[in-house]
């Protein structure tokens, strides 16, 4: 079945055009491998966490056409769970991150079952409302520490052996998880399953008429996206040794939309570039208070009005190669 839906472009893509993606991938690897020599590594780790978050979000918006405006709930709940697991249960970081991803997966199933009942703009409103519910839960639940969050989370030792207190070890860990997550998403998008997702994006009615249970595909995509966002959130909590309310707030959901939009919707590398660009901007303006919000808003408006392809999307069009 899946072969029928594969557009000619995709068949073409397998032979020649992956070359450019391979080059782009090598550039990305080289950047994150060499950048810590000149850029503050903690900032780069933040970029990789958010790049994975944005890639997970893009899996849903760019490849299934579902705009989730509540993805912060997965980032946040995974962060809290990982922090709790590492601090209170004393688990090693890799297990803590798995716990976080598991929590995000469960939340993804629950919220996905509700949200996929509507499409388009309603889907965005419903995910936003569900995320707000999770936010209020996190404000009130005892284990999240309310306004203070969970502080001083131990980074621990990877597999109980390699101490992550060392910045280099932490960096390599984050780098490996980010690359693994990125490749997984690439694999999902370019699998027969991914082709069905794109078919749903292009024309859901036709996908249904071809016999696909589109609701199930959408749910699986939603849960995958939520789980990967959870990995990003859990990793973020371990790196910064903190899980706090700002990760669950709707502004965070807006930020990941912005990163994806700036980088390029539906492109493979766009969310990574977008995360780097948005975080660099925020870092630069951080001392100016409300100006960060204003700048985010202005970029949103400009992107929507004049730059809908985003950085990578524009580049990809110039080269007429998918990136």
């Amino acid at each position: 079945m899946a072969e029928i839906l594969q557009p000619p472009a995709a068949a073409h893509l397998r032979s020649k055009d992956t070359k450019h993606q391979k080059i782009a991938f090598a550039v990305m690897l080289a950047f994150f491998a060499l950048a810590p020599l000149v850029i503050y590594p903690v900032f780069l780790m933040k970029v990789m966490c958010f790049a994975l978050f944005a890639c997970a979000f893009n899996l849903l918006l760019g490849f299934v056409g579902l705009l989730s405006f509540g993805h912060a709930m997965f980032l946040g709940i995974a962060g809290y769970t990982a922090a709790h697991a590492a601090k209170v249960w004393g688990l090693t970081p890799e297990l803590a991150i798995l716990c976080g991803a598991g929590a995000a997966c469960v939340l993804g199933i629950a919220s996905g079952l509700i949200a996929i009942r509507r499409q388009g703009i309603y889907f965005a409103m419903i995910t936003l409302a569900l995320a707000q519910m999770v936010y209020f839960f996190c404000v009130q639940a005892p284990f999240t520490g309310g306004e203070d969050g969970i502080q001083a989370v131990p980074r621990g030792a990877l597999f109980g052996v390699i101490s992550l207190g060392d910045v280099r070890a932490m960096y390599v860990t984050v780098f490996s998880i980010f690359i693994a997550g990125f490749l997984l998403i690439y694999r999902i998008v370019h699998s027969p399953f991914g082709q069905v997702l794109k078919a749903i994006r292009e024309n859901e009615a036709r996908a249904v008429s071809l016999g696909y249970d589109t609701d199930r595909y959408k749910l699986v995509a939603f849960v995958l996206s939520a789980t990967l966002a959870g990995v990003a959130g859990a990793m973020n909590a371990i790196v910064f040794q903190l899980a706090a309310l700002n990760a669950v707030h709707w502004t965070m959901s807006g930020e990941v939309v912005l990163m994806t939009l700036v980088g390029g919707l539906g492109t493979v590398f766009g969310p990574v570039v977008g995360a780097l660009a948005v975080l660099a901007m925020e870092n630069y303006l951080a001392t100016l208070g409300a100006w960060v919000t204003i700048a985010q808003g202005v970029i949103f408006v400009l992107c929507v009005l004049t730059f809908r392809r985003g950085i990578v999307g524009e580049l990809s069009k110039r080269l007429s190669k998918p990136l």
Binding site: A124, A290, T293, F300, V304, R308
Partner: protein
């Protein structure tokens, strides 16, 4: 003191009153969203920011120009509505041919800008707005104390909502609007200036948000983020009601205010989340919403 289910009637009616007040704002805001959505197919994320602008405009008129609450009720919706029409002409009108999600994202960006600018100017803490003299005090109804201003808000909001319903469902102007919602090309062919109608409709919906802001100013403190969380609740209200009918959004707004008030009495921990829980339940049972039609 009389008691129902172990709760004093004083507390019960007090919370129901607060629920009705909140419901008034839910109704006014979701009505505006529904009117805009009907014609523009855009969910106006900036609605909360525009409600906040309404409250700030009223504060500005009173404290800088000495114009009273009653003037604000009249002037502020016009100012906020005019700013909305400007936004529609300059930005939203460029997006009608694209996926509707872009309109949502654009208005989200606008909300960030508006809230950021006000936060930069006024800080995050609230500004007080004094109660209009004529509405100070209250009535003792025997079973509860009813502050005059709160009674006024409920009555005024219900009147505005019903007026809007009447205008859209029963007048000639409203019939143009409903026709343009169904088929804009055809209405345009009959010589109605549809683009102008779209601009005016957006201005009207936004003006309603401004009006709600003025009414909220004496109750809640006037602060840059007063609309930010409210708008998300209003989205949930809209999902519950479905956007098919004007009367539906009014009834859902008031009804959910009451539900929230009741929750505060019986299980206060859930009062923040009850509307979202209702939303989840409604989606499971009737995905199109209580008054909506699935499209």
């Amino acid at each position: 003191m009389t008691e129902i289910f172990g709760i004093s009637t004083q507390a019960l009616f007090g919370q129901l009153l607060i629920g009705l007040i909140n419901g008034s704002f839910y109704a006014l805001l979701s009505l505006g969203l529904a009117v805009i959505f009907g014609l523009l197919n855009i969910i106006n994320f900036a609605h909360g920011a525009q409600y906040m602008m309404g409250a700030f405009c009223a504060w500005f008129l009173l404290n800088k120009l000495g114009l009273s609450y009653w003037w604000a009720l009249l002037i502020v919706p016009l100012i906020v509505g005019a700013s909305g029409m400007l936004i529609e002409r300059l930005m939203l009108s460029r997006l009608y041919k694209l996926d509707h999600l872009y309109g949502f994202l654009l208005t989200f960006g606008l909300a960030l800008i508006i809230q950021g600018v006000f936060r930069q100017q006024f800080g995050s803490s609230g500004l007080p707005y004094s109660m209009p003299k004529a509405l100070e005090g209250g009535q003792n109804l025997g079973f509860m104390f009813l502050p005059n201003y709160r009674a006024w808000v409920i009555v005024a909001s219900a009147t505005v909502c019903l007026g809007t319903w009447f205008m859209i469902e029963k007048t000639k102007l409203g019939s143009y609007l409903r026709a343009a919602t169904e088929n804009p090309e055809l209405v345009q062919a009959f010589g109605v200036n549809v683009p102008r109608m779209i601009t005016l409709t957006y201005g009207f919906g936004v003006g309603l948000a401004g009006l709600a802001g003025v009414m909220a100013a004496p109750i809640y403190s006037v602060s840059p983020l007063m609309g930010a969380d409210l708008i998300i609740v209003v989205f949930a209200v809209v999902v519950i009601g479905g956007m098919g009918s004007i009367m539906g959004s009014i009834l859902t707004g008031f009804g959910l205010g009451l539900v929230e008030g009741l929750t505060k009495v019986f299980y206060p921990e859930a009062s923040n989340t009850v509307i979202f829980i209702v939303m989840a339940i409604v989606l499971m049972i009737k995905p199109a919403g209580l008054f909506g039609t699935q499209r």
